[in-house]
């Protein structure tokens, strides 16, 4: 389990995340939603240890990352997979080299086994045969899938996904969402997804956290989110037209 206890992060006098507490459980997709600039990405970078916290604690199975030694931190990071907003693939490496890179760094298995693992991961994300392409030669959706393949190659326990649907068409977005959902169940991972795509939240979210101006404003599940009377959350959620229709139908039912 990952537990956030009163997590705050400031850059100088500018507070980006303020007093966020939450728990993320195994086998579930935990969605962190909020408008652009609400502090989702900073919170995620704090969770993976890229930004030191200004105050509070982040616990991985009860151990605070702030109190871990450099060795323990490295060991935890080997169990973390992350998909970045722009995929962050290494441009000078092919798809295969990108995916095999963590294996080369940390695994002692023979090359043939490593290649088998790479091919398995590529097949799992539907990109078999694309081994020799460079990131510049593949589409945005394919880059995301390569990023996912690289994130799962070491069998992670924790998967962090930052804006998986940004810049993708609706069909590819659905494919990526389904892939994240399947992999979370398959590997029994703790998955944390940052998004502001409500379709994605309604399709895959098990637990939802709403951030507003760096503060946790609401927490619940996808059924509760549609019925909440939190005005700021409603404004955010029902900005999507089909959900707006749903909300007005719900209100009409209540009136009747």
């Amino acid at each position: 389990m990952i537990e956030l206890k009163n997590v705050s992060k400031s850059f100088g006098s500018n507070t980006i995340v303020s007093g966020v507490s939450a728990q993320f459980e195994k086998g579930k997709i935990n969605m962190v939603i909020g408008a652009s600039g609400s502090g989702k990405s900073v919170l995620m970078k704090c969770m993976v240890g890229l930004h030191p916290l200004s105050s509070g604690q982040i616990l991985y199975d009860g151990i605070s990352i702030g109190e871990m030694s450099a060795f323990e931190k490295t060991e935890i990071r080997k169990k973390v997979g992350m998909l970045f907003q722009n995929s962050a693939l290494f441009d000078s490496m092919t798809v295969e080299e990108n995916i095999i890179f963590p294996l080369n760094m940390f695994s002692t298995m023979p090359l043939s086994e490593k290649l088998d693992r790479v091919n398995f991961c590529l097949k799992r994300v539907g990109l078999e045969g694309k081994n020799k392409l460079f990131p510049a030669e593949v589409s945005g959706g394919m880059k995301k899938r390569v990023g996912i393949a690289r994130a799962i190659v070491l069998n992670p326990t924790y998967l962090f996904v930052d804006e998986p649907n940004s810049g993708l068409d609706p069909l590819t977005s659905i494919l990526i969402d389904e892939l994240i959902k399947e992999l979370t169940t398959e590997y029994n991972m703790i998955t944390v997804v940052n998004t502001h795509d409500m379709n994605s939240v309604m399709e895959t979210g098990d637990k939802i956290l709403f951030l507003h101006k760096g503060k946790k404003t609401w927490e619940g599940n996808k059924t509760e989110i549609l019925l909440t009377d939190n005005e700021i959350l409603n404004e955010f959620v029902f900005a999507t037209s089909f959900l707006k229709d749903f909300k007005s139908r719900q209100e009409q039912k209540v009136i009747k």
Partner: protein, 245 residues
């Protein structure tokens, strides 16, 4: 205060770069890749620069030494000494600061702004070590080698021009060059090359590693890397000359 804060960050980064590597084989592979890129990739520009540097020095020295009392062999001595002591290490390093320095700063800077460095760190890899250490070690090996080549090409340029231009015969040129040659000059020159190699790669890597923003900032970092490397090269050139000579 600003200078000391940067200098402190620079020292911390260099220390971080030389932490124990996660997988020595990967670092070795990266080192060889860098050596090929820096060494083979720079040999043509080093040849062009140093050949003409030697040729021009010969013509200008001959132009200034018109007295019949001065033996012509002195031209060979001046050209080879100035080449070995100053021109080959300093001019070559200034040129390499432009070529290698800007390339390192823009490569690492681009990796920073596209979150590739974050991706390395999340994998549990020491990004500073993986990206910077092979570059510094490669420069410490390849830049002195390029300087040795530059010495050869420069003297070759001088020799060719003195002979073809009718300034003095190649035999006299070589006689002068041999008469003033001392091994100490070569050692001093290689000490400079070693220092300049470290300056170029570490300063450029620092500029790239702490880039923030977008493509515009990558360009700024790249320019800063070249400018600061050149200034530090010239300053350390003076410092080394003052200390060693």
């Amino acid at each position: 205060m600003h200078f000391f804060s940067h200098f402190g960050k620079y020292l911390i980064l260099v220390k971080l770069a030389f932490k124990r590597p996660e997988n020595i084989a990967i670092y070795r592979k990266e080192l060889f890749r860098q050596m090929v890129s820096m060494g083979i990739g720079s040999i043509v520009i080093v040849f062009i620069i140093s050949f003409f540097m030697g040729a021009v020095t010969t013509v200008q020295t001959a132009f200034q030494l018109v007295s019949a009392l001065i033996p012509k062999t002195i031209i060979g001595a001046i050209v080879s000494d100035s080449t070995i002591l100053e021109l080959a290490p300093t001019i070559t390093s200034l040129v390499l600061a432009g070529k290698i320095g800007s390339s390192i700063a823009s490569e690492i800077g681009t990796m920073r702004v596209t979150e590739q460095i974050d991706a390395l760190e999340i994998m549990g890899i020491n990004a500073a070590g993986y990206l910077i250490a092979p570059k510094i070690i490669s420069a410490l090996i390849m830049i002195p080698m390029l300087v040795i080549f530059a010495m050869g090409f420069s003297i070759m340029g001088g020799l060719l021009v003195s002979d073809l231009g009718g300034i003095l015969s190649s035999q006299l040129f070589l006689e002068g060059a041999r008469s003033s040659f001392t091994l100490f000059n070569v050692v001093f020159s290689l000490t400079k090359a070693f220092t300049f190699g470290f300056v170029i790669t570490s300063v450029s890597a620092y500029q790239g590693f702490y880039t923030s923003g977008g493509s515009l900032e990558v360009g700024v970092s790249s320019t800063k890397a070249v400018v600061y490397s050149c200034i530090i090269i010239l300053f350390s050139d003076y410092l080394l000359a003052q200390m060693i000579l």
